[in-house]
């Protein structure tokens, strides 16, 4: 029955492709998409190609690709000499990985409890943990700063890790709970019969929700790496600067040195774009699987 229904539609679809009106529509669609792709990439492209040119070439021929005559790395020399970008990268990596680890560990544990056990207050706890999805943590900044000072943590990476973990947990728990609920009961009950402890069963479930853990990790990685607000307020010291804050400070100081500005923008941008290309499939799958609902 279903097969028979499908047949004619494929035929109409095939014949529609060869209609002149349809070809025009396709061309129009590609034209719009190409134009928008160009708009999205043109500024990035312009910065990258000009970062390896001499000052005169940047202004004389901004749209030309670098040639042996215009090739000049003076901007990169300035950046590497005047800003400690290596340290900023290390700091950003520690903060991002630390917060992600906490989010995934604490988040999956809480999600497991909410998904697995019927206990009094389960629904209330779920709601309490979900409150933070819509309320931005920035509104509590003044009290966060005071708390961090009281705990003796100002200008530490740990303060950033804890704050980013707190802001990432609500959505992580929400997403992971949905996935944990889909793990078949029989599996867990079989393990229980075999005498496995609840902690063991949790460890057993964890690999089964790996795709969800990946989605949560990629989701949280970008905003944590890119955040300016909390590094600026909680850890502005030179030794704890993240890439985003370091770039912000450096760019502010060297605003008139075009070579240095273009070079530092490229240096901060390229790792993010490489990471994005590596993880884009996972990120897009996460976004399009309705995880945000």
């Amino acid at each position: 029955m279903i097969e028979a229904k499908r047949l004619p539609t494929t035929r109409t679809r095939a014949s529609r492709i060869f209609q002149p009106g349809h070809i025009l529509q396709l061309l129009g669609a590609h034209a719009i998409l190409l134009a928008y792709t160009a708009l999205a990439l043109f500024p990035v492209f312009l910065v990258v190609i000009n970062s390896v040119k001499g000052r005169r070439a940047i202004f004389a021929s901004p749209y030309a690709l670098p040639t042996p005559e215009t090739w000049d790395l003076v901007g990169y020399d300035t950046v590497l000499l005047r800003a400690d970008f290596e340290r900023y990268f290390v700091n950003s990596t520690i903060v991002t990985l630390g917060a992600l680890l906490l989010i995934l560990l604490a988040g999956s544990m809480a999600a497991y409890a909410l998904a697995e056990y019927k206990f009094p207050g389960n629904a209330v706890m779920g709601l309490y943990l979900a409150l933070g999805i819509m309320i931005p943590i920035r509104l509590g900044t003044i009290s966060i700063l005071r708390l961090v000072v009281r705990l003796g943590l100002p200008d530490t990476l740990l303060a950033l890790i804890l704050v980013f973990a707190a802001s990432g947990l609500p959505l992580a728990i929400f997403i992971l709970t949905q996935f944990m609920k889909q793990v078949p009961r029989d599996l867990k009950d079989a393990a229980r019969v075999d005498g496995a402890s609840e902690y063991r069963i949790y460890l057993m479930i964890l690999p089964l929700v790996r795709p969800a853990l990946g989605t949560v990790a990629v989701f949280n990685m970008i905003p944590i790496w890119n955040d300016l607000w909390f590094p600026l307020i909680l850890a502005p010291g030179e030794s704890t600067k993240t890439v985003t804050l370091g770039a912000q400070t450096f760019l502010g100081q060297f605003v008139n040195d075009w070579n240095a500005v273009l070079a530092s923008l490229t240096l901060a941008m390229v790792p993010m774009i490489i990471l994005y290309i590596i993880f884009s499939r996972q990120l897009i799958r996460g976004l399009t699987s309705g995880a945000i609902k």
Binding site: I142, S143, R146, A268
Partner: protein, 312 residues
């Protein structure tokens, strides 16, 4: 812990559940819920002559709403924030919808390549995006006049970020440029999940592509339209980074780009010679909290309930 105590006269509360919940609940409560509540409490306090914070009730809110020093800044920030939000709703989300509609068609080759490339600016930090556009729009470099010249409009070139009339719109459009990928992805996800049978049935009935889109697809993705709207609202009324990066905390020229986020930062952190004022800062955070809460509640009880009725 309370739960365990209450139940102790019956069955003891299972310890392992507490162990599973504890890390997340402790971190989340200590660094998110407690600061939010404490910040609201702080908005009801003000320093006295001895620099001790004492309870003053709603005085701070009254000052913010009526004092000649505070009121114009608050009003300016709210008006600018509404404009910032309106431009996102009118430009970012329709463009996102258009791109998603094109990308959801099976006839377009290279869909995933377009999708990945268009999303690229979204993953960049706002600081980088801000400086990239500062360079592009700099009259010194002249890129914007070159681009306008392609369309024969070079006489309209302006220092877009330097003029009071154009700075806020320009900043909003930069933000749109960066974030258009998010509504695009959400709309795309919703459009892809519409069953083919529904669309084919309408096509067989002779509906045009335009008709199918607005009368069937758009109605089916209305829940996503609501989610995109509320996410845009929360994001915009909480924005800060882009304006701080391009215009500094003073949100120039002449406060024309000041939004609630920059007003909040300036007030509690202080700038240049003006010292920070934590309690007034907390009051501004309180106002932002009320605005965002109103938006979220309107969405939950207005939009989402109507959506449920449509589904029934």
């Amino acid at each position: 812990m309370n739960l365990a105590a209450k139940r102790s006269n019956r069955k003891p509360f299972p310890v392992h559940i507490l162990v599973f919940l504890a890390p997340a609940v402790i971190i989340y409560t200590a660094f998110m819920i407690y600061p939010l509540i404490d910040s609201l409490r702080l908005s009801l306090y003000a320093p006295n002559e001895n620099r001790e914070e004492v309870f003053v009730g709603l005085d701070n809110y009254q000052r913010l709403l009526t004092d000649d020093l505070w009121q114009p800044r608050l009003e300016g920030a709210i008006v600018n924030n509404i404009k910032f939000f309106a431009i996102h709703m009118l430009v970012q989300n329709p463009i996102g919808l258009l791109l998603a509609a094109l990308l959801s068609s099976q006839f377009i080759r290279g869909r995933s390549v377009y999708r990945t490339l268009i999303f690229t600016p979204t993953v960049l930090s706002v600081v980088l995006v801000g400086f990239i556009w500062r360079l592009i729009l700099s009259p010194l470099w002249g890129i914007s006049s070159d681009v306008l010249a392609v369309f024969g409009l070079e006489q309209y070139d302006k220092p877009w970020l330097g003029l009071e009339e154009t700075a806020l719109t320009t900043l909003s459009l930069i933000s749109v440029w960066q974030y258009v990928g998010i509504p695009m992805m959400l709309f795309l996800a919703a459009l892809i999940s519409i069953p083919d049978e529904l669309i084919e049935a309408a096509r067989v009935d002779g509906a045009t592509a335009w008709g199918v889109f607005w009368r069937i697809k758009f109605r089916l993705i209305l829940p996503t339209v609501g989610i995109v709207g509320v996410l845009t609202f929360v994001g915009n009324f909480n924005a800060f980074d882009l304006i701080y990066t391009i215009q500094k905390a003073t949100a120039g020229p002449n406060y024309s780009t000041d939004i609630l986020g920059t007003f909040f930062y300036r007030t509690f952190f202080g700038i240049q010679l003006q010292p920070g004022n934590p309690t007034m800062g907390a009051t501004i955070a309180g106002v932002m909290f009320l605005i965002i809460l109103t938006g979220v509640l309107l969405y939950m009880f207005g939009w989402q309930r109507r959506m449920l009725q449509i589904e029934l």
